[in-house]
């Protein structure tokens, strides 16, 4: 695969690692925000190549992990309703709600379908005019433009049997939450390349200044991540704290203006509950009132949802970078991808799932 294999070239990666080794003089704690990066690090064993002084901490950037239990329960309630085709990104099917997951809904006769894009869900709505088609619109800034576009298209084309169950989360408020927490250990950030491809990185400039923390926009291939770590360590060693772009082949400071325009048109800021972390002010997006006709929460009567999340695991601490998966007593024993005790083990992007899959000993 052209333009991918170059970024997995062993010699190039080893060269960057050698430069990191040469430069590092003391311990540094760096957080990669995005679950996709966590998985790439584990999948390629990149952390094993780094000098012992560099500690990578895994951030809350796994949209499946942080989607609130209330929303999962709402999704399950809607998917169980008669005459509903419930559509979702595949990852969400396995996330346990209070009592069941979307797999169970399907096993009990519910019509739950995996789609790759909300526009596929819209197509399903067109083809099934007698059914209510609902799309579970979750994710960070990356999925918001396509989710918003599906609502605009539904409105434009007059598709009234389509609605979205929205729970969007945003990276910058999470960075504030992590850096402002009393026990924060994070000294530098690898900012998520895909989020920045949409939003640019102008939002990070004041955060970097306020907390004096270097941030490097970083891609997802081993060479990208090694390069991101190198740029972060260089800043840390020099005592500087700037926002740098290590993913210039995809990211500009301003980001994708037309994608941002769709987001601005469809969504408005709201406080959002993150599973395992809690409510972070202004950290989410919801549909603007003018699009409430396409809001599944108003279309279906799901106000009576009572959630039930007993305290067992330390997912919340892991999502904030305060603990590593293997520090949980349940890790790999009671808690596995088949018997997940926490959201971080459920999603294929979750930190616990990454450790379980790639690094159990």
């Amino acid at each position: 695969m052209k333009h991918i294999e170059e970024y997995r070239d062993s010699h190039l990666v080893q060269g960057v690692i050698a430069e990191i080794r040469r430069m590092t003089t003391r311990r540094w704690v760096i957080m990669e925000i995005c679950g996709g990066q966590t998985h790439a690090i584990m999948r390629y064993g990149l952390d094993q190549l780094l000098p012992a002084e560099i500690e990578l901490v895994h951030g809350p950037g796994c949209p499946v992990c942080v989607t609130s239990l209330e929303l999962v329960d709402k999704a399950i309630a809607i998917a169980s309703s008669p005459d509903v085709i419930f559509t979702s990104y595949g990852d969400m099917l396995r996330v346990p709600g209070s009592r069941q997951d979307l797999f169970s809904v399907r096993a009990n006769g519910g019509d739950v379908r995996v789609v790759y894009s909300p526009l596929d869900a819209l197509e399903t709505a067109k083809q099934n005019p007698a059914k209510q088609v609902v799309f579970l619109a979750i994710g960070f800034e990356t999925t918001a433009p396509a989710n918003g576009m599906s609502v605009l298209q539904a409105q434009k084309q007059g598709i009234h049997n389509f609605s979205v169950l929205v729970s969007h989360v945003r990276v910058p408020p999470a960075m504030h939450a992590i850096l402002g927490a009393p026990h924060n250990r994070i000294q530098g950030f690898l900012a998520a390349g895909h989020v920045c491809a949409v939003m640019g990185y102008w939002e990070y400039l004041p955060i970097s200044r306020q907390y004096h923390v270097p941030m490097v926009v970083t891609g997802f291939e081993p060479l990208d991540i090694a390069q991101g770590i190198l740029m972060t360590v260089r800043q840390l060693e020099q005592g500087s704290a700037r926002v740098e772009n290590g993913y210039t082949r995809l990211v500009t400071k301003e980001g994708n203006q037309s994608a941002q325009a769709v987001i601005d048109r469809v969504f408005e800021s709201c406080d959002q509950k993150w599973r395992g972390i809690g409510v972070i002010p202004h950290s989410g997006w919801r549909l603007k009132p003018e699009f409430s006709a396409f809001d599944a929460e108003t279309r279906f009567d799901i106000s009576e949802i009572k959630t039930d999340e007993p305290p067992v695991c330390i997912a919340g601490l892991i999502l904030q970078g305060l603990k590593k998966p293997y520090e949980c007593p349940a890790f790999g024993t009671q808690c596995t991808p088949i018997t997940p005790l926490g959201a971080t083990m459920v999603s294929s992007e979750g930190a616990c799932a990454a450790y379980y899959r790639y690094r159990r000993d």
């Binding site: 997951d101 797999f103 994710g139 306020q210 919340g316 018997t339 294929s348 690094r359």
Partner: protein, 360 residues
């Protein structure tokens, strides 16, 4: 700017959902959930030595064929096929049904001989479609040089099945000097695959219209008994053969590592994956090591014979892309490890449940 610190909920998490009470699709994935279902539901009441061996086909002995002769050893296997759609690039359910059972027999070093076929047909299926499938079965049987000698037909009401399900069972004979099974891998052995991985799974996804883009990938569905014959004729050091179908290479190697109580170390750079399959997997968030194959095998071979087996494989129609991908060791018994492209090492686990595309 004001510092925002969220009120911490404290450690919270959901209850585990183990799907103990009800079958979900993940139970049919060929991965961990399937294994657990077999271990909990099927094996305890049905247990016997041939079944408990847990190989692709059971090996049984028929005694007293003739006085003073060694008992006749037979491989017996069965496989049900529920693929949707019925036709896909490179194959169809008929070819799949024949090759599935032929390959399960061949993986024990058996010469496949006779097959049976059971058809569960949904009311409303076009007879022409059925004829096309049966013709394809005959062509595959001819290629594998086996005969379909018995059959059964059931028709169910519309909606009670999805068009057509086919079960095939088969028997094959095993030479007395052949002892190939999943418990036979030994430290020092070499791991060979017969060609590119994941092509069948991606071809079926494309036929379902689930890729959202077009590829030129063809399913690899093929009978592998001639390939097995070719390598058996050059080596007596073939310890394990397995066709990595559902659950892919990763799941099959984990089964072997557990059965033989050995560790397996793979070299990521050496694992053959067709560039288009690799690209499709990249886009969908799949790992080709977990994607299904229907015409590939893994051979675990004594180190002295690795090269002759590789050469013999490459000289066959379905083994041209064969490659050495790793070795067996005594470290980490029961585990499969992978040396990554950039020099790290990681675990290669079994598929947990259903394979799901990632969100972004």
């Amino acid at each position: 700017m004001k510092t925002i610190t969220p009120p911490l909920d404290g450690p919270v998490c959901p209850l585990p959902l183990t799907h103990h009470d009800q079958i979900v699709l993940g139970h049919g994935s060929g991965g961990k959930m399937t294994h657990d279902l077999i271990a909990k539901v099927f094996r305890p009441p049905l247990s016997n030595p041939a079944l408990d061996a847990g190989d692709d086909a059971a090996v049984v002995q028929v005694c007293n064929v003739a006085p003073n002769q060694a008992p006749l050893r037979l491989a017996v296997s069965t496989d049900s096929h529920v693929v949707w759609p019925l036709f896909f690039a490179g194959g169809d359910i008929g070819r799949l049904a024949v090759c599935g059972t032929v390959n399960d027999l061949a993986m024990m070093g058996a010469k496949p001989l006779y097959l049976t076929a059971g058809f569960v047909i949904e009311e409303g299926l076009d007879i022409a479609v059925l004829q096309q499938v049966v013709t394809s079965m005959q062509a595959a049987a001819q290629e594998a040089r086996v005969q379909i000698v018995a059959g059964d037909t059931k028709v169910v009401q519309k909606g009670k099945a999805d068009k057509l399900f086919i079960n095939t069972s088969g028997i094959g004979s095993i030479n007395t000097d052949i002892h190939i099974n999943g418990s036979n891998a030994q430290p020092g052995d070499i791991v060979i695959v017969s060609g590119t991985l994941g092509d069948h799974g991606i071809a079926v996804l494309e036929a379902r219209g689930e890729l959202g883009f077009e590829t030129n990938i063809q399913s690899d569905v093929a009978p592998l008994n001639h390939l097995v014959e070719a390598i058996l004729s050059v080596s007596h050091q073939i310890h394990v053969l397995r066709d990595p179908t559902r659950g892919g290479l990763a799941t099959s190697l984990n089964e072997i590592a557990a059965q033989s109580q050995v560790g397996i170390l793979l070299e990521e750079n050496q694992i053959p994956v067709h560039p288009t399959t690799a690209a499709a997997c990249e886009m969908l968030g799949f790992d080709p090591l977990y994607v299904a194959n229907e015409g590939k095998l893994i051979a675990i071979v004594g180190p002295d014979d690795a090269q002759v087996v590789l050469d013999a494989m490459r000289a066959t129609l379905y083994g041209a892309g064969a490659a050495i991908i790793g070795e067996v060791g005594s470290h980490h018994p029961g585990r499969v490890l992978l040396k990554t492209a950039i020099g790290g090492t990681r675990i290669v686990d079994v598929l947990a449940g259903e394979m799901l595309p990632r969100i972004c």
